[in-house]
Symmetry: C2
């Protein structure tokens, strides 16, 4: 798919067909994710592939009951290594760059999935502690997003964008 | 350009030709930026188009002397409205979603620019106070990135990616 068409047409998918996504496809999506830029090329991202039903159930509970996390054939949990980015960039690295770098990688992932006919949804509302407990994460890994992913069951309307009016400014406020 | 090729081939550009970028082109890049998802579709992003030489000079100073900010024909300053996102999502909105939503928009912007033969660079190291003073920003707008943009003068090597080894985990740590 053409880049601009992919960016324009992509939407968040919360209903999935039962079809599995094979490892090769998943890894190709993650190869696109890690093409994102990162501060000083630190690449402090980590990705957890979750397919086990019991684990997806716990992720849904951690995400205040968002049940589509269970229906997705796979959920990718994205985390940032705060120790790694903090070594080079201190507090700004831990609180800004870590979040930006992983977010850029996630956006690449969403676009690459869409390009392949897959759907996904960026879930940010969840208990970081519950996800950390589930994945047995070391304390330096901050959980920044849950990305359920699968073949879309239906095509929802894209939430309307306000447009650029009032959001673009020339030279100053 | 095909989406995956755009994601794969894009790199950070820090040397620019003098060619101007017209308003129409810039606005089309920002139209791609705002196709990004945002928490609850809040769309709390703001974009400042900076072309004036004296302003670019001040941005470079705010960014610890990164001189390529002056050479770029345009610098886009990206900000997030913390009050807007905070109303719906409180502290998590201000410290996580605001940064993720603008980062996703920036990644779209970088890809859309690359697709059109333009180059850009995500600059995160700068004094937020100095940029705020320059743009006369209200205190609710956090400055999250400077994006110099222009026609690339030469094609630098892409910093190598470590690959997925040690970054992808199956079911748990």
């Amino acid at each position: 798919m053409e880049t601009l068409e992919c960016i324009r047409s992509r939407r968040s998918i919360r209903k999935f067909k039962a079809d599995e996504i094979d490892d090769e496809t998943l890894l190709s999506l993650l190869e696109s994710a890690i093409q994102a830029p990162s501060a000083g090329n630190t690449q402090e991202w980590h990705f957890f592939i979750i397919r086990e039903q019991a684990s997806k159930q716990k992720l849904a509970e951690a995400a205040m009951g968002q049940g589509f996390l269970v229906e997705a054939p796979v959920v990718i949990v994205v985390a940032a290594d705060l120790e790694e980015i903090g070594r080079a960039y201190g507090e700004r690295g831990r609180t800004l760059y870590a979040i930006q770098d992983t977010a850029a990688a996630i956006q690449n992932l969403l676009l690459a999935a869409w390009d392949r006919g897959l759907g996904a949804c960026w879930v940010g509302a969840f208990s970081e502690k519950a996800v950390s407990d589930l994945l047995a994460l070391p304390s330096n890994l901050r959980r920044v997003a849950l990305i359920p992913c699968g073949r879309p069951a239906g095509m929802p309307r894209k939430p309307e964008r306000e447009g650029l009016e009032g959001r673009v400014h020339w030279e100053h406020w």
